[in-house]
Amino acid sequence: MIAATRRSPIARLSASLGASVETEAGWEIAAHYGDEAAERALLRDLVAVADVTPRGKIDLRGEIDGGVLTAAGEVLTARMWDGWALLLTEPGGEEAVLDRADAAAGPRAMATDVTHLFAGLALAGPKLEDALARLTSWDPSTLAPGSATGASIGDVRAVLVRRDIGIPVLEAYVATEFARYAWETVLGVVRRLGGGPAGWRALRAEGWS
């Protein structure tokens, strides 16, 4: 039996764009698209989109108190409202976080590994707002860096996390079944603004994690 690898639904679309694939924590990730320097330039000067689906995701719902969140550890937390939070980790980090959250959750909260429930896109670059203007009627200026909310992107609902790292970055998590549609839609807008796809190497080199 071949060892099981996890593949983002966007993987084949990335491959057709020339993605160079690496394995990380049992996932295939798009490391770059042939020219890492060019991708970094897009991130710094225009706008680019990356497939960040391999990130670990834990759904917490119910009575989520501070205790559960502390137990979860140093983890990017998208607090949607009192009754719902999404925890985001590096690829492969979800198992450990799930164990800790589950243990601390108690009967009135539920922790679920939703790594496979969402595909993720990271939109980054100075033209982020121009791209969003063409993707949603939601006002991005209402989301401060470090915060999260839900809104529709390209006519599908998404969990949005704003993470600026010198350049504006918005991570959008959409339902897995919409992954390819969302990628095509967002990439189309990004391209019309002069941008393109970016790989994990370029994104990490700019300070993202």
Binding site: M80, W81, D82, G83, W84, S137, W138, T142, T149, G150, A151, S152, R157, A158
Partner: protein, 97 residues
């Protein structure tokens, strides 16, 4: 449908982000008369004026909440999660354990 609704969690958003859940109703459970059942299933106040109704923030926090909206002007004077004051216990099944 371009007016704004203030989600109790997310703040003002376009109405298009929400799904409408209808007027609040009082459920006719076991022991109701046929007339009460029919009223609950098929009749609504349909007021020209202030109406309390359900909305779901479908594209946002996905929470169901209540709104008091004026059906003629679309002005919304209040939005609040169910269970807030005043108590809105419109749909609890009667006789449930």
């Amino acid at each position: 449908m371009t007016f704004l609704i203030t989600c109790p969690n997310c703040g003002p958003r376009e109405a298009l982000e929400f799904s409408y859940g209808g007027e609040i109703t009082r459920r006719a459970g076991p022991g109701s008369s046929s007339a009460e059942l029919t009223g609950y299933l098929f009749f609504r106040e349909n007021a020209n004026g202030w109406q309390t109704e359900w909305w779901l923030h479908r594209d946002g926090c996905r929470m169901w909440f209540l709104a008091e909206r004026h059906t003629f002007t679309n002005e919304i004077r209040r939005t609040y999660p169910p269970g807030s004051e005043p108590p809105v216990d419109a749909q609890a099944p009667e006789g449930a354990a």
